[in-house]
Amino acid sequence: MLVINTCRNTARLALRSAWLRNNVPISSPIASRTFSLGLALKQQDVVNVTFVRANGTKIKTSGKVGDSLLDVVVNNSVDLDGFGACEGTLTCSTCHLIFKTNDFEKLPDKPGDEELDMLDLAYELTDTSRLGCQITLSKDMDGLEVHVPSTINDARSA
């Protein structure tokens, strides 16, 4: 098992650096099929998520239980400009997402001071805003739909 894990990690790192070098988008389903080596995700671990862009277009994708919403965007190369600039370290607000009130209230962890501090700098801040990097997927979130605020704002009006 350890050997398999090591192989998987090495393969993943190699894949990642190849991607960084060539900047060729590798779609995640292929990646996970190739490198899961028969340890394919159990269906019940998959959580379907829909991102709704500011212009209304929907991006349907999925993650697995334990992933953050930022992981879902990164792992699936979801096309959201500038999303996750600080890579989930709570030092920017570029992964700002807006939840439906029901979904927001069901989230198990309330935002901490540090997350609220960063949200305070976000555009289109609402009472149901969260940072995607702080939301961990659970099975009961299957079918979640979140709104992505517009990334293009006139900076002078900020």
């Binding site: 500038g82 030092t91 305070d120």
Partner: protein
């Protein structure tokens, strides 16, 4: 042209066949030049490469190294903020992007030359000048700009000789923005925490001998107008062995207004009030002090002291009264804002405000007609003035890049003729590969000291490591 291309290839600009193919293509490629490799430049490049399929983007940068304020502005104890470098690196390694470091607009190349070589030029070279207090004695050696102090500890070439005098007990910082708070944190925070950051060695050495015990952070207006953001304040409040002491007079009448404030301002004010109420509870002698002071406007600079006018707020503006107060100030750090410089006489520049005259990122003509100079754009602090966090710059840069795409689509910008792009000739240009060599060298040198990198500060040394 052909021999030039060969030269460029020989010098290692483009090693992949994809790149050569694009550069040698005879169809008129849309060529866009971005001047300045900071966040605004990289975010604009990212947008253009994604949304303009048949363009080549060249980034021209004055220094041999990229990333602008992410490298030279972001505090060394905020390494997470620098993670954006990973995104910028992906953009830089895009096959349709070329990086030309060590090329200075106005010195190595003129704006007119760039405009002849490109369909569009986007200026993103930022703000490298300070607003001044306009007081007598401001040129004395104990008055320095916070921007230069930041540049000093972050290793900006030319800033290494600043030699700030840290032998006194009191530092007075004029201004209350996040730069001012960064500087206060660098002066008061534990040195050991900085030793594992990329703070320059000479700055660590100077800070280790620092006698500074109190930092006064002085603003003209009141707590409700404070310019620092809540994250930076919370960090100060959590610093070990540092007490934050507010003046309760500054907060008279503030508590009753909290409920009417918008959420960000409300949370910031609540944090200040909470800290004010808690102060004195855990007072222990011998700790350093962080002293935010409101409603004081700079009036005079003397030896070891700074004089301020007591101000009153009238419609959110600070109006000086006849009352004054003197604060101890062995060192004065000026942090009342930046402005940009005009790199080339052909840029329509507002020298009073210190930014490029523009409408939604479209630069206006040099004449007084207020009409747009087609093909010339500006983004980032050079166009907006020095405000906002990286998100602000990102959104602004995306918006200007979108305007470039729209102008090309609507033929407001003529891209029918072929343009050659930048020709390096015999200039000592640092390519992205050259930067990678500098990057590797810095990380390797840093490793020996337990730091993420040891920045090279000398330009000559950078060029040597880059191999040009």
């Amino acid at each position: 042209m052909t021999s030039n291309l060969l030269n460029i290839c020989r010098r290692g600009f483009h090693t992949s066949s994809v790149r050569q193919q694009i550069i040698q293509s005879e169809t008129p490629t849309k060529r866009i030049c971005i001047v300045g490799a900071g966040p605004a430049g990289f975010y604009a490049a990212q947008y253009l490469l994604k949304n303009l399929g048949d363009c080549v983007v060249d980034i021209v940068e004055k220094l041999p190294v990229p990333f602008g304020l992410v490298r030279f502005g972001v505090a060394p104890d905020h390494p997470e903020v620098k993670n954006v470098i990973n995104t910028f690196t992906k953009t830089a390694e895009h096959p349709r992007l070329r990086f030309f470091g060590n090329v200075s607009l106005g010195t190595d190349v003129s704006l007119q030359e760039l405009r002849n070589q490109y369909h569009a030029v986007l200026l993103t070279y930022g703000s490298d000048q300070d607003r001044e207090l306009q007081l007598d004695n401001e040129q004395q050696s104990h008055v320095i700009s916070a921007r230069k102090f930041v540049a000093w500890y972050n290793g900006l070439p030319g800033a290494e000789h600043l030699e700030p005098d840290l032998s006194g007990r009191d530092v007075t910082i004029v201004g209350q923005g996040n730069v001012a708070v960064d500087v206060a944190r660098m002066l008061l925070g534990p040195l050991d925490a900085l030793k594992s950051t990329d703070t320059t060695e000479y700055a660590l050495e100077a800070l280790s001998r620092s006698q500074v015990e109190r930092v006064h952070l002085v603003g003209r207006r009141g707590p409700l107008q404070a310019a620092f953001t809540i994250k930076e304040l919370r960090e100060m409040l959590k610093l070990p062995n540092v007490q934050t002491r507010w003046r309760s007079d500054d907060f008279s009448g503030i508590a009753t207004q909290v409920e009417q404030l918008q959420r960000p301002r409300k949370r910031l004010t609540e944090l200040m009030l909470k800290s004010l109420n808690d102060q004195g509870k855990n007072s222990s002698p011998g700790t350093k002090q962080f002293l935010p002071i409101f409603l004081r406007a700079p009036k005079a600079i003397t030896e070891g002291e700074m004089e301020f006018s007591v101000t009153e707020l009238q419609q959110d503006a600070a109006v000086p009264t006849h009352a004054t107060e003197r604060l101890p100030a062995n060192l004065i750090l000026r942090s009342i804002g930046y402005k940009s410089s005009c790199a080339d006489a052909d840029i329509s520049f507002d020298s009073r405000q210190g930014y490029v005259r523009n409408r939604e990122g479209r630069v206006l003509k040099v004449d007084a007609t207020d009409s747009v100079d087609a093909g010339l754009y500006v983004a980032g602090w050079l166009g907006t003035g020095p405000t906002g966090v990286i998100l602000t710059t990102m959104s602004g840069a995306f918006a200007v890049a979108k305007n470039i795409c729209d102008d090309i689509a609507s033929n407001a910008l003529d891209t029918s003729s072929s343009k050659p792009g930048f020709e390096a000739d015999d200039k000592r240009v640092v390519t992205w590969d050259g930067w990678r060599r500098i990057d590797d060298f810095e990380m390797e040198t840093g490793k020996e000291k337990g730091k993420p990198r040891e920045k090279i500060v000398s330009i000559a040394e950078m060029l040597r490591i880059a191999g040009v």
